[in-house]
């Protein structure tokens, strides 16, 4: 009986230690409380507006106007040339997203190897070198920097150098996604089974042969999966980059909104949804091919 009670007590003691995970949970709750406190008290939170009937009727009017209610003029939805015009912008936007993910993918593909720890420290065979470590640190730093800065901020910087068009927006999207893809791809290589590469190295394969037969067959399918997943993200973000990059649906969205052409805004959102859903479907199909 006594022993039973002791075991129970031991069991309870074991269950309750303040692990880092548990402390983090409490820490996050505290952080959330402080953040919400700051936002509600220290910023123009807008909580007061939420209880005012005026706000809601204004908002209702706004969304009604997007749908073409009560405007008097003929809504853009019923004008064929409006569909064509916005369709062309959607086409540009799609091209921009493909160009962005293409540049990001090629860039990441060319640099993900030295960014993998097991490649630079000789874990896959080969000898560790100080130069390899330096390159590893540099590549990882570039991945982190490009990834940490959002596409829109890159776009605001890039328009200082490049003429407006598809290219600056695509480059901005590519920079951020290069960091994301590079990090993901490097981690794929860090997780691969080292046996094939080591065996190849031991039987005298050169670096390129090792890459071709020891690393890529394992890493490439995962890389393609990530590429497609990022394309789904990019198509959603391309519109936003158009806000600053002055191209495609994004630019038109901002212009129409500031000219109060509400139904055109609605039509642009419609085309945007067509793009997003279309790309999601294409990616689902391509993923099946990759399997």
């Amino acid at each position: 009986m006594i022993r039973h009670r002791e075991t129970t007590r031991n069991y309870q003691r074991q269950r309750q230690p303040l692990t880092f995970a548990r402390a983090s949970a409490y820490g996050f709750l505290l952080l959330a409380a402080v953040s919400w406190g700051y936002i509600l008290l220290g910023t123009e939170s807008g909580v007061g507006d939420l209880v005012s009937a005026q706000t809601w009727s204004d908002a209702g009017d706004f969304f009604g106007r997007l749908l073409g209610l009560g405007s008097g003029v003929q809504p853009a939805y019923f004008q064929g040339d409006q569909w064509v015009e916005k369709g062309k912008l959607a086409y540009d936007t799609l091209a921009m997203s493909v160009l962005a993910i293409g540049i990001a993918g090629i860039g990441a593909f060319l640099t993900f190897l030295p960014g993998a720890r097991n490649v630079s420290n000789g874990g896959l065979g080969g000898s560790p070198s100080r130069a390899g470590l330096a390159v590893y640190c540099l590549v990882r730093w570039v991945f982190t920097l490009t990834r940490a800065v959002p596409e829109l901020v890159w776009a605001m910087v890039i328009i200082f150098f490049l003429s407006p068009g598809i290219l600056p927006g695509a480059l901005a999207l590519a920079l951020h996604n290069y960091g994301v893809l590079g990090k993901l791809a490097s981690e794929v290589v860090e997780d691969i089974d080292p046996a094939p590469a080591r065996a190849l190295r031991a039987s005298g394969a050169g670096g390129f042969q090792m890459l071709l037969y020891g690393i890529l067959p394992q890493a490439l399918p995962q890389f393609i999966t990530y590429l497609l997943y990022r394309w789904e993200v990019v198509i959603r973000t391309t519109v936003v980059v158009g806000f600053v990059g002055a191209t495609g649906l994004g630019r038109e969205f901002r212009l129409s909104l500031s000219f109060f052409h509400y139904t055109e805004v609605g039509l642009i959102i419609l085309w945007y949804l067509v793009l997003v859903i279309g790309v999601d479907l294409i990616c689902a199909w391509l993923r099946r091919l990759a399997r």
């Binding site: 293409g102 910087v157 490049l162 003429s163 290219l167 990759a290």
Partner: protein, 261 residues
């Protein structure tokens, strides 16, 4: 059997054609560096060595980083609170009737797909136009698509939990909700957490670009410094973004290691 178009070949062909098409859509005649752009580019790159490190400006950056972090935290809390139940519904396993469960699952998945298809900044611009400028508008704008993406991934991870431990729970008379709370969620917890941390990192960037609708924070300060062509300040602010992202990364990996131990 060798076929002209096996799946891999078709995939490579598709990716290649897409890239060539996108390159062809660029108007190369007018594209490129505009006059004076080359000089500005050099100026921008050189401004990173060193970035602006005066105590006064570091204080500005720190305050901005704090503001951005609070918005990110606020948005991710809503996204998790909304996304988790929707993700659980999307598994189709929360009610005992399987036909009703499937109907709920289809509804939840469709809803999640709709709310995650629009980018947070598009939501933000629309909300500000509809409700007026406010921090809540920006936070909701981030929380909506993030609830959609979190719900989708939560649903997938919760559905992928191995069935044996769940069967044991069911055999001892646990209700579907109890199976979820004591079986699926604890088993999937490391995966759920690591994905949530990743999305938390993304909300930091989302909060930063809410500067576009006038929300203060790192993006706001970057815009100000860009307008005044103070590139070394821009680099400092970017480094603050890097700092926040690295912090979240470190936190995430330490929590995962602690759970695994």
């Amino acid at each position: 059997m060798w076929r002209l178009f096996d799946n891999r070949r078709l995939l490579s062909l598709f990716l290649g054609v897409a890239l060539v098409w996108s390159l062809a859509s660029v108007d190369w005649g007018s594209a490129g560096v505009h006059s004076g752009g080359g000089g500005t580019l050099r100026e921008f790159v050189l401004a990173a060595f060193p970035p602006e490190l005066s105590p006064d400006f570091l204080r500005v950056g720190l305050a901005a980083a704090w503001q951005t972090a609070t918005f990110a935290v606020a948005a991710i809390t809503i996204a998790v609170v909304v996304g988790l139940p929707l993700g659980a519904l999307a598994t189709g396993q929360v009610v005992s009737s399987s036909s009703r469960g499937r109907a709920l699952a289809v509804g939840a998945r469709l809803f999640l797909a709709v709310i995650r298809s629009v980018h947070e900044l598009v939501w933000a611009v629309l909300f500000v136009a509809a409700f007026g400028f406010s921090s809540l508008a920006a936070i909701l704008a981030i929380a909506i698509p993030y609830a959609g993406i979190l719900g989708r991934i939560y649903g997938e991870r919760l559905a992928d939990v191995p069935d044996e431990p769940l069967r044991a729970l069911r055999a001892s008379g646990a209700s579907p909700v109890a199976v979820l709370a004591y079986g699926r969620i604890p088993i999937a917890l490391p995966d759920l957490l690591s994905y949530t941390f990743y999305r938390f990192e993304c909300t930091i960037r989302a909060a930063a670009i809410m500067s576009f609708v006038g929300i203060r924070g790192l993006g706001f300060e970057i815009q100000l410094s860009l307008q005044e062509l103070l590139f070394s300040q821009v680099w400092t602010l970017m480094l603050f973004l890097v700092g926040l992202v690295v912090l979240v990364d470190l936190w995430s990996s330490k929590v995962r290691r602690s759970l695994a131990a």
